[in-house]
């Protein structure tokens, strides 16, 4: 599909055009960037390094009502999920992550909530010109300008955004905003490629994944696990902020007679996650839980869905309060193999 340019001055207008849709975009809350619905006069910031909390919530909200009911009745009401959503400016890794969780949510039985939301959501990505300190997307099959999972890709060319539709949904979106866009010439195309090449070069950290998915199970009792997990706090930071983590809990919440069953993000780093009521816990310590996290991403998921469930966004490493560094763990894994 043809490439186009959007003058940065027209950006607010572009956002404004998407009326009737729920538009999500990165915004600053003063200290940090986060994806949030765009309200009036709100400043969308595209010049950012990655939000702390990934935009996975657009398809898989942190808390989602599965259905409502009244106590005492067995009639349930399902959510309509008919709102059109546009996510603006998400990074290629986050978009790619959605394709990864997609596999699980459609494995055998479709997860209706994810699927419905996905149908209604258009993802407009923004290529990275300045990758972050701990980005290693290129090691796990992504890249600063990767388009997998996106409907539209944008790139910051300075004065203009380079804009290109990648899917029909993306095309429809650009059609709606056609009058704000101009056709891109070859130069623009080249400039975009140059920038992404440069961005790739700027990525300093990397992991070596060859042999890892097959090899990990063999390291079950390796001393590396107690070593790398000793300082883990068992907080959910790494998983909550991971764009490919998809685990959830289901709870019934009641308020008088009104009640709902909802699901919310859960984390395999929590001890309750696998705890049986009897007190038995198949993963009793942080060692087992850390091992599961790494294995799940780099081995089990590959085994089931043929893809590594890590997009190299570096969040877990950036935000782990005790410097548990997935890149370092993988280095040690590799060493132990």
């Amino acid at each position: 599909m043809s490439a186009m340019l959007l003058n940065k001055e027209k950006w607010p207008e572009f956002v404004g055009k998407l009326t009737g849709k729920n538009v999500w975009a990165p915004q600053s809350d003063g200290t940090e960037m986060r994806f949030a619905p765009v309200g009036e006069n709100e400043k969308v910031v595209l010049d950012y390094n990655n939000t702390r909390v990934p935009p996975k919530g657009a398809l898989f909200p942190q808390t989602e009502t599965m259905f409502k009911f009244e106590i005492g009745s067995d009639k349930v009401e399902e959510p309509p999920l008919d709102q059109e959503v546009v996510v603006l400016g998400l990074r290629p890794c986050d978009a790619r992550a959605m394709t990864i969780v997609d596999k699980l949510f459609k494995w055998d039985i479709d997860d209706p909530y994810f699927v419905k939301r996905q149908e209604k959501t258009t993802l407009v990505g923004l290529a990275c010109n300045e990758p972050g300190l701990n980005c290693f997307c290129t090691s796990v099959g992504g890249g600063p300008a990767a388009t997998e999972g996106l409907d539209v890709i944008m790139a910051d060319l300075g004065e203009n955004y380079f804009v290109e539709a990648l899917t029909d949904k993306g095309k429809a979106l650009l059609d709606e905003t056609r009058d704000l866009l101009e056709d891109a010439d070859d130069d623009a195309q080249k400039q975009k490629e140059k920038l992404s090449g440069e961005a790739e070069d700027k990525i300093k950290r990397s992991v070596e994944t060859e042999g890892v998915p097959e090899g990990l199970p063999g390291l079950w009792d390796d001393p590396l696990w107690p070593r790398v997990s000793a300082s883990c706090l068992g907080c959910g930071t790494c998983t909550y902020l991971c764009p490919t983590c998809h685990c959830f809990d289901i709870q019934d919440e009641t308020e008088g007679i009104d009640a709902r069953r909802c699901r919310m993000w859960d984390s395999c780093m929590f001890s309750e996650y696998t705890l049986h009521t009897s007190g038995h816990n198949p993963r009793p310590t942080r060692k087992e839980r850390t091992r599961n996290r790494i294995n799940h991403k780099y081995s089990y998921y590959v085994d089931k869905f043929d893809v590594i469930a890590c997009v190299g966004c570096g969040r877990c490493t950036n935000l782990c309060p005790v410097n548990i560094d997935i890149i370092e763990i993988l280095r040690q894994v590799k060493e132990a193999l």
Binding site: E255, G256, G279
Partner: protein, 666 residues
């Protein structure tokens, strides 16, 4: 095994007490739709026999296993309904009461309001009752002994009754002698028998009874434990006189260097005593006591060359080295018989009690007319200039009673009669005197009272209805300013003497006992009984009973009657030898307890201790509750950060749904 909760809801009309402000039928109808409610009914008097039968029948017919009674305060009828459902085979702790009378119908006016609130309260009760747990009533041994605090007539009588029944009694009296106020009285209405004559034998009995350990000049310092097992510590104040050596001869008092310098408490200060003294001639025990505040030697460390008393005491009983002693013992029940204080008329300055020596109180009058009193029974007053035999005598009733301005709204119940009695006694001694009594009402409600009142009136005692507003001096006369409200005539009555018929007040020092035993005060500030009608001698603290004027003003017959009642009640645990312990005790979840011992430092009954348990091969410390000690206050639970300790029936899991029910139902 988990049973599905099947709740029966019983909404009481309480005659019209509830139903006039709460639409009880609407409430019951509403209740029927609440989760787990099987039946909801109303009845005119739920607590009555047919009311209880109704519940029992429903339990049988509908297989109910939880009961909610929406009626009066659980403080009133919880035991009643607990028993009723237990009779029907349901665990008595599967009961919850919604207080829709005291806290609803009686305090709200609009029926909409009342009904709406009743529904809410009921919703909360139903929410809770579903989550209650079955509890078991356990018992512990009770110590077959009693403590009686205060040895006025009430205390003496209780002690004698309990001792006669064969139980050990510790009778603790604050002052050096037993007897209390009654010992100060001259003759007693309405029969006019001499107070000392009827009291002294009892005082002696109490002192000599093999089952009574008399602890005079003593105070209870500490009470720990609970019904059946109170651990008591008593301070025996130093008398500085060897109890065993003193023969009560009184030589010391006669020789005391500060002889007859200090107001004699027993004579209401109308006479003087020495620093070493016997409160009154018939005092029991007849042992002298040194008043440490006034004794030269004790105060200044020096009394002449040698303390005089020490010099003269033939048995060398004086012992300045003596120190307070402590006695500790365990009892199963406690009777509080600490009596009253006469109203201090200084608080009504318009009556000039502080200014004019010929304005005296009824209590002083008792001493004045007493043959053993300071004047040997002669009625004489000092009018400021000279001592005279009064010709014109006025007695004023209700001084300090039924008087909002001094904060006492209650009637003191004895003044009408003792004022009449004193008028009679004055008439006896001063046949020519003009005696009048100013009064608001005459309440001659007791046995023989009306007859006595009639008799006094016939003795030429004038009753003038009016509440004097002021007493002042004119010349050497006192002027009583008053309006005769029957004739609406303002009067300025000139008299030689005024007797203030002071009322009875709670003892100024009652706080100490209150705090020791966790008692409360009723609005009149006397000790609060558990129920004004049904449990008049019980208190909120199990095993602690009230006797005499400590609970409220009363005359001697009533005092004695109540003392006997308290004795009987106190003897129940002693005789059974066992007391049921609180079933709503705290319990620790050892799996989650983190061993911080916060609960241990909190528990006021030291009911929690840390124990070491084996948790999968690891030794860990966890809290454990001693059920016999726990009173179920739940303070521990609020302090436990991990909610590992919870009082049964008041668990978080039972209270939070109550909160939800009250909040959500807006």
């Amino acid at each position: 095994m988990t049973e599905k909760p099947k709740v029966g809801v019983y909404v009481c009309h309480c005659g019209i007490n509830i139903s006039s402000t709460v639409d009880v039928d609407a409430v019951a109808e509403f209740a029927e739709k609440l989760p787990n409610v099987k039946v909801a009914r109303t009845y005119s008097y739920m607590c009555s026999d047919p009311g209880q039968v109704l519940i029992k029948k429903d339990i049988e017919e509908h297989g109910l296993n939880r009961i909610v009674v929406a009626s009066c305060s659980p403080r009133m009828h919880e035991p009643t309904f607990r028993k009723a459902i237990a009779d029907a085979g349901v665990n008595p702790y599967f009961l919850e009461m919604a207080n829709i009378r005291e806290q609803c119908s009686w305090v709200h006016e609009e029926i909409e309001e009342g009904t709406a609130k009743a529904k809410k309260l009921l919703t909360a009760s139903v929410a809770k009752v579903r989550l209650l747990e079955a509890l078991e009533q356990k018992e512990v041994d009770a110590e077959p002994a009693a403590l009686v605090i205060g040895a006025g007539i009430a205390g003496i009588q209780s002690a004698l009754d309990i001792a006669d029944a064969g139980f050990q009694v510790y009778l603790v009296e604050k002052t050096p002698s037993v007897g209390g106020r009654m010992a100060q009285l001259d003759k007693t209405f309405p029969t006019l028998d001499c107070s000392a004559c009827i009291l002294t034998p009892k005082m002696v009995d109490a002192a000599n009874h093999p089952n009574i350990e008399l602890l005079t000049y003593s105070e209870v310092e500490e009470v720990k434990g609970f019904i059946g097992n109170f651990d008591v510590k008593v301070r025996k104040k130093a008398r500085y006189v060897d109890f065993d050596k003193c023969t009560g001869c009184g030589d010391c008092a006669k020789e005391c260097r500060v002889k007859d310098r200090f107001p004699n408490e027993f004579d209401q200060g109308l006479s003087k005593r020495s620093a070493i003294y016997l409160p009154f001639p018939q005092a029991v025990p007849a042992k002298f006591t040194i008043d440490p505040d006034n004794c030269l030697f004790l105060k200044k460390g020096k009394c002449g060359k040698n303390p005089k008393c020490q010099e003269v005491c033939g048995t060398e009983a004086i012992d300045f080295e003596q120190e307070d002693e402590f006695v500790e013992f365990r009892v199963g029940a406690i009777i509080v018989a600490t009596g009253f204080d006469p109203f201090n008329p200084s608080r009504k300055p318009e009556y000039g009690y502080d200014d004019y020596p010929n304005v005296i109180t009824g209590m002083e009058m008792e001493r004045l007319v007493s043959a053993s009193g300071p004047t040997e029974g002669k009625v004489k007053v000092f009018n400021g200039e000279e001592e005279i035999e009064p010709k014109e005598v006025a007695l004023i009733k209700c001084v300090g009673s039924r008087d909002e301005s001094v904060g006492n709204e209650y009637c003191s119940r004895v003044c009408c009669m003792y004022v009449a009695k004193q008028a009679h006694l004055i008439r006896d001694k001063l046949p020519d005197a003009n005696i009048r009594i100013y009064y608001m009402d005459v309440r001659a409600f007791g046995k023989g009272f009306e007859e006595f009142y009639d008799r006094v009136r016939r003795e030429n005692v004038r009753y003038i209805r009016g509440n004097p507003s002021e007493i002042f001096k004119r010349g050497n006369k006192l002027v009583v300013k008053v309006e005769d409200t029957l004739t609406s005539t303002p009067l300025e009555d000139e008299v030689d003497m005024v007797v203030l018929g002071v009322g009875l007040e709670p003892r100024a020092d009652m706080r100490g006992v209150m705090e020791l035993l966790r008692l409360s005060q009723s609005p009149d500030k006397f000790f609060l009984e558990a129920h004004p009608k049904l449990r008049p001698v019980d208190t909120a603290t199990d095993g602690v009973f009230l006797a005499g004027c400590a609970q409220g003003p009363k005359d001697i017959p009533d005092t004695v009657a109540q003392a006997k009642g308290a004795a009987a009640s106190a003897m129940i645990p002693l005789a059974r030898g066992k007391v049921p312990i609180n079933a709503q005790v705290a319990i620790v979840n050892e799996a989650t307890c983190r061993g911080c011992a916060f609960c241990v430092s909190i528990c006021p009954y030291s009911a929690i201790e840390m124990v070491t348990v084996n948790r999968f091969g690891n030794e860990v410390e966890v809290a454990r509750v001693n059920e016999a000690l726990c009173k179920g206050c739940g303070s521990c639970a609020a302090a436990c950060l991990s909610d590992s300790i919870q009082p049964k029936s008041f668990r978080d899991s039972q209270i939070l749904p109550q909160i939800a029910a009250l909040g959500v139902m807006k």
